[in-house]
């Protein structure tokens, strides 16, 4: 039996399940939008997790594609003052369940890795394995930021962890993704501010998105440089005329570096963004433990979902 922890509208999960059905692999899906019936029993004899009336045995293969197991009957609790507290408690439980699975099951993907996605730590790890990284500063002090700008301009800024999604009564604030920081912006800053994440802007030939599942890599080049809208970040999508994409093949040494990076970061799956510079250097930008893979699979004809279904079917 394979178990997929996901969200109800995730296309990739639907496609993986289609392939599981084709291969006669029993598969169970646990969606984070529904409250699962969960109990975790710890005793002298055995530790066991039971989800939706079924005990999870050690030979079941689990893939945490997206989201997490949800254990709070939300509707009733959402309006109470206890909700935030209960969510923190739940967080501890869900993480403990993941530790339990990781210790005895084949378990790919991770809720913990998704919430604890520290971009700065990843940059340091990437550097350790020999990948190039952009010069970076995180600071809450204007003088430092201006110095960094003078030395490294042009520079960009992006979210350190969470994209902006804040609403108050009248206004909704959302991120514009990665943007170039201008001198005018710096002029308007106070002496101190909340920490912000800034990097040198790296001129690119192409951007590269690589999805890794265990040791297998699926890479795609994004020719975002020809379009001013996507020049800074391909995620500022141009819907009318999407960036040209293409399957991509890394040189062997870079492939090794990427796998080593995953290894020292304790990641068994994730999507890495890189830049290929005009000098043919590969610059590591970030890793997303639960990234989008549908478009990558579709545009490069990779059948990633078929591959994952086969991995989930493999008997130990």
């Amino acid at each position: 039996m394979a178990i997929i922890i996901s969200e109800n509208r995730d296309t990739t999960t639907n496609k993986v399940i289609d392939w599981c059905l084709k291969n006669n692999t029993d598969v169970r899906r646990i969606n984070s939008n529904l409250c699962a019936r969960l109990s975790f029993e710890i005793s002298d004899e055995d530790d066991s997790v039971c989800i939706n009336k079924q005990k999870i045995s050690a030979n079941e293969k689990i893939w945490n594609r997206r989201g997490k197991i949800n254990t709070l009957p939300k509707e009733e609790l959402l309006k109470t003052p206890f909700y935030n507290y209960l969510k923190r408690e739940e967080d501890s439980l869900v993480k403990s369940v993941e530790f339990h699975f990781k210790s005895r099951n084949s378990y790919t993907g991770s809720y913990i890795k998704e919430v604890e996605n520290y971009k700065i730590a990843h940059l340091v790890s990437a550097k350790k394995v020999g990948l190039k990284i952009p010069r970076t500063i995180v600071t809450n002090y204007k003088e430092e930021l201006v110095n960094f700008y003078q030395k490294n301009k042009p520079i960009i800024s992006k979210d350190l962890r969470y994209s902006v999604n804040i609403s108050d009564e009248n206004t909704k604030y959302t991120s514009i993704g990665t943007f170039e920081v201008t001198e005018t912006m710096l002029d308007h800053l106070d002496t101190y501010f909340a920490p912000c994440y800034v990097q040198e802007l790296i001129a690119k030939k192409v951007e590269i998105r690589v999805f890794i599942f265990k040791k297998k890599m699926f890479s795609m080049a994004i020719f975002s440089q020809n379009d001013t809208q996507t020049k800074i970040d391909y995620r500022n999508y141009n819907i009318e005329k999407p960036n040209r994409v293409s399957p991509f093949k890394f040189p062997e040494n870079v492939e090794k570096q990427l796998l080593k990076f995953m290894n020292i970061s304790n990641l068994d799956t994730g999507s890495i963004d890189l830049i290929l510079t005009k000098k043919n250097e590969f610059v590591f930008l970030e890793v997303n433990p639960q990234g989008q893979i549908d478009w990558l699979s579709k545009y490069c004809n990779y059948y990633i979902e078929k591959y994952i279904a086969e991995e989930l079917a493999y008997e130990k």
């Binding site: 496609k15 289609d18 392939w19 059905l21 084709k22 080049a221 020719f223 020809n226 005329k241 999407p242 040209r244 994409v245 293409s246 399957p247 991509f248 093949k249 890394f250 040189p251 290929l276 043919n280 579709k298 545009y299 490069c300 004809n301 990779y302 059948y303 078929k306």
Partner: protein
């Protein structure tokens, strides 16, 4: 060794050579661009060469044309120059499919002559996602609702439905737009016998869904099989499937108005009736899949056409009814002259038109 950049096609822009001209099938942006065979020839011969190496093969008087060609390809992002072509492998052109049946046609006359719910239930077992339901007589709006309700209640795997219905006042645009909003499974409505020709996009958020009104009457399955540029599908999935399989009949199952199980309702071969045969049983009969692997490369005339891998096919109505590999009867395109004409007025097709009683 030269360090000058090398001319390289983008891997999802594929050249298909025809008898008289070629196409660039942009399988990412879903577009088709016609190009002269001179340019096709340049690409075929000189991909992987530098600008200088290409020029060396031409006379100086041709440089202007060569530059124009190369600029055209780069500007439209069909091609690019690179020092590292080894980074950009060709597109994998394999085609795989998880479902035994990907699409189904259900034909219905006004009096329900067979159990449609039974068909829908069996399509679910086959993991069939796309269904077209064609009503050849006036129906009540409530019949549509009844079928959709069934799919919703059973959480059916069917994820897209095309309806073909006759126009009545019940099928007003306002009512249909609301239906599209409530029923995400609906992908299109074709309304025949309408008072005017029109195409309406009912949802702002999804431009692939449409309501099409036509004034002509659709009385039976014999309206089907028309080949037109409108039906070209320049995407990776359709292109790779058509390299190996028939672009209409592969993984298709149909029920005609009498409840007969067929590959296509317009074909005479039946593999049992839904009253006493399951779709799965019909599918396993010896000849059910006999047209599934007929590709355009095997079909007369189509095999020379520049549109062959993005075009639909039809094996039900053929120019020569006695030849399984004859060109679709309802195609008015001639790849040798590059002209589109009205197929139904072509004198050479009159005999076949008579044969099929069209």
């Amino acid at each position: 060794m030269s360090t000058a950049p090398i001319f390289n096609m983008h891997s999802n822009c594929i050249i298909v050579k025809g008898a008289n001209r070629s196409t660039i099938c942009d399988l990412q942006r879903n577009e088709v661009k016609l190009i002269p065979n001179d340019l096709q020839n340049l690409i075929e011969q000189y991909e992987g060469k530098t600008n200088e190496e290409i020029k060396a093969q031409y006379n100086e008087s041709d440089y202007e044309v060569v530059d124009e060609y190369l600029n055209f390809l780069v500007e439209h992002e069909y091609a690019f120059f690179t020092n590292t072509p080894e980074f950009y492998p060709k597109l994998n052109i394999e085609w795989f499919e998880a479902s035994k049946i990907t699409n189904a046609i259900i034909d219905i006359n006004s009096d329900l002559e067979y159990d449609v719910i039974k068909v829908l239930s069996q399509l679910d077992d086959l993991n069939c996602k796309h269904v077209q339901i064609r009503f050849f007589n006036v129906i009540k709006f409530s019949i549509i609702i009844k079928l959709l309700d069934y799919l919703n209640e059973t959480e059916s795997i069917v994820s897209s439905i095309n309806f073909v219905v006759s126009f009545t006042k019940e099928f007003s645009v306002i009512k249909l737009v609301e239906l599209f909003r409530e029923q995400p499974r609906i992908s299109s409505f074709l309304i025949y016998n309408h008072t005017k020709e029109d195409v309406i996009i009912p949802l702002k958020e999804n431009h692939t869904k449409y309501i099409k009104c036509v004034t002509k009457n659709i009385k039976s399955a014999s309206h089907c099989g028309v080949i037109s540029q409108e039906y070209f599908v320049p995407n990776i999935k359709a292109y790779t499937e058509s390299l190996q399989h028939n672009s209409c009949l592969n993984r298709k199952i149909s029920i005609d108005t009498q409840g007969n199980i067929k590959n296509c309702p317009s074909m005479s071969e039946s593999y049992g009736n839904i009253e006493n045969t399951t779709l799965e049983e019909a599918l396993h009969q010896k000849d059910f899949k006999k047209y599934w692997n007929i590709t355009k490369d095997q079909i007369e005339i189509c095999k020379d056409c520049e549109f062959r891998y993005i075009c639909t096919d039809c094996r039900a109505y053929r120019e020569n009814p006695e030849d399984n590999y004859s060109k679709p009867l309802k195609c008015g395109y001639d790849p040798y002259t590059n002209e589109w004409s009205d197929w139904s007025k072509n004198p050479l097709k009159q005999k076949a038109i008579e044969w099929y009683n069209l």
